[in-house]
């Protein structure tokens, strides 16, 4: 992202080098400048800063808050021997796979597939309720699920049972709530992708006697694979960092039963005031997010090759 190469349509053969070269650099640098400055100060800066404090014993209170010291990799050594961190890591994995990769992704695809060729009314009603759950602020979504799963709440009334879901099955509860909240995104991505699948191709296969399942598996899905990849990557990354919904719904509890890594980081940094340790956790989260993205980007690249 440093040098402009090929001439743009507007440049009409000005000599290379000298003032025109500067002009060409300015031409992309000026409009991009504000964005680059903001990204550098408020995203890149903090990330680098977190790399630094992750290697100190910085705290918010106590003597280490005035004389924080460089402690080398002590935070990371502690981290990988910390049963609560390992626990949070596993829960995050379950949460991402359960609510994003399986839940939102599959349900979003199913809804998008089912909606093809449905009437206007059906489409807008389904679209409406699914999107409403998505637009809703996290805390409100939590308030909805809090009452929905309460001991004498809607779910138990419908099922005719008495269960304290948030305490007996907290992971299931937060996974379902997140599927509910996030499916709209996948649905929109797949609706857009499916609308570009040529209808005659699918129909031709139908004429050839291919079953609906075969048509889906061998024609439709391969055609939208790029959307599937992009969607999986985006929702995985969003879900990895998900904080508000779980925080408001279960607070990570009971005990540490639904304490995913972002919640564990919050607890360490802002409840126990261990900023250094919290940053170490944040750094690990960033690295994991980066690895996930790289895997997906790799897959997309292989597709292109």
């Amino acid at each position: 992202m440093t040098v402009a190469t090929a001439p743009s349509p507007s440049v009409t053969g000005s000599p290379a080098g000298g003032p025109s070269r500067r002009r060409r650099v300015l031409r992309w640098l000026l409009p991009l400048g504000p964005a680059l400055v903001l990204l550098a100060i408020f995203l890149a800066g903090p990330i680098l800063w977190s790399v630094y404090i992750a290697f100190t014993n910085e705290t918010l209170t106590g003597s280490a808050s005035v004389n924080s010291q460089f402690v080398g990799v002590a935070n990371f050594v502690k981290l990988f021997g910390d049963p609560n961190f390992i626990n949070s890591f596993l829960l995050t994995f379950i949460f991402v796979i359960g609510s994003a990769v399986i839940g939102q992704n599959t349900l979003g695809l199913i809804i998008a597939l089912l909606m093809r060729g449905r009437g206007r009314v059906t489409r807008s009603v389904v679209n409406g309720v699914v999107i409403a759950a998505w637009v809703m602020p996290e805390v409100v979504a939590a308030a909805c699920w809090f009452s929905f799963l309460a001991e004498d709440g809607t779910l138990n009334t419908v099922l005719g049972v008495s269960q304290e879901w948030l305490y007996t099955a907290p992971m299931l509860a937060v996974i379902l709530a997140n599927v509910w909240r996030g499916t709209a995104f996948s649905m929109l991505v797949y609706s857009a992708a499916l609308s570009e699948v040529p209808a005659d191709l699918v129909e031709a296969a139908a004429v050839d006697g291919a079953s609906p399942a075969r048509r889906l598996l061998h024609i439709t899905l391969p055609l939208i694979r790029r959307s599937i990849m992009a969607n999986l990557m985006l929702i995985t990354l969003q879900t990895l960092a998900s904080f508000g919904l779980i925080y408001a719904l279960t607070g990570g509890g009971p005990g540490t039963a639904s304490q995913t890594t972002p919640l564990y980081m919050y607890e360490q940094a802002f409840r126990y005031f261990e900023i250094g340790y919290g940053s170490a956790i944040a750094l690990v989260m960033l690295v994991i997010g980066a690895l996930f993205s790289l895997v997906y980007l790799r897959l997309i690249k292989t597709e292109d090759a």
Binding site: T61, G62, E164, T168, G253, G255, R271
Partner: protein, 454 residues
Amino acid sequence: MRPKLAGSLLLLTALTAAGCGGGDAPESSSGAKELEVLYKVEPTWPHLEKMLTDAKKQYEAAHPGITLKLTPVQGNNEAYYTKLALLNRSPDSAPDVYFHDTFQVNADVAAGKLAPLDDYLAKWPDWSSQFPDSVKQAAKGGDGKIYGVPISTDTRGLWYSKDVLTKAGLPVPWEPKTWNDVLTAARTIKQKVPDAIPFSMYSTKIHGEASTMQGFEMLLYGTQGGTLYDDAQKKWVAGGKNFTDALTFINTIYRENLGPKLSDAHNAKLADKINWEWFPKAKLGIALDGAWASGAWKPTSTKPWPEWKDKLGWTPMPTQNGEEPGAVSMSGGWVMAMSSYTKLKQEAFDFITVATNKENSMTYSVSTGDLAPRKDVAADPKYSADNPSVKFWTDLASVTHYRPAYEEYPKVSAQIQEAMEAVTTGAQTPEEATAAYAKALPSVVGGPDKVLAR
């Protein structure tokens, strides 16, 4: 050159926008002095705000030219601790004076956030005449200096519903002598009064320090030699049988379904449920709680319950097997403290003396149900007039313990809450939770040499 101009303008606005704002300076540009006071408020707990509003009026009338800015923090104690710690990070955002829980004092002294008050206290006659020596220790730092003027103190014990106990066929007044007596009573209630919760205590992380102090320490300090910190060796005690026994009590409560439902045990508003819903409706037998609970029922409360004086009983929490002195209590409390960053030290201290004078101290103690730290308030008939339990709670001072409020204490307390919650939910057995505590302790208190294995 217009594009360039536009770009730089945008940058400029961005940067200036970032530059302005920020923490408020102790002195506003007009030259008028401003003193910021931080405190906590909950919709159901307006008492401190009321008292401080009074104090603000008195103070501003007596100190023309100084404006007092009252900054409330909405939420429970945990939210307050966090917000205070965040604000205290920088001299610019730190409040000048704040309401402070005594167990946090040493951590802040170590961080240099609090100003010692000794020089000012020496010139304040009330300090020597009205504050008993035991109370003066409340906010004493490791260096022996005083870092806060007590606004409240407290003791802990058992409240019980006379109706529920009578229905269960238990004697009233009820006087348990051992933990077993308490558990037996709870089991009897469960059997005879099935629609009442037999026993309630704070045992989850959401209740924070209340779980540690009202819950765990009330048990631990009632075991033979049970303590968190060995004063002789100056080391933290890593678990041991006392610790396991205390957790076993909690385990018994929840495994035998003698306690509240899990959703209630994890409800941040458990205290409100106990005081306003369960006790008035005779839906709860026994609660392990503190002196201040009566504040919820007094006329100054948001939901008064005048019948409490007849419907409820109170009794000390017994020691494990009736060991001497037979009962146990824990004491803590809150102080008004002064920031080391404040530029208006004398003015800030003056406000502390106003907030803790007889009149304001009275308003606070009477409405909150906390015990008055001042002798003149405690001696005033108005103080005990509407509260038949006050003598009982005050007398518990003879068996009370204080937390080892060293710098590491808040972190140790957090570990205890983890252990309690694990036992409450059944995720760990008392033995497992004790072992986890012993394992985590060295890194929490700063090294294995500060830990005494048991």
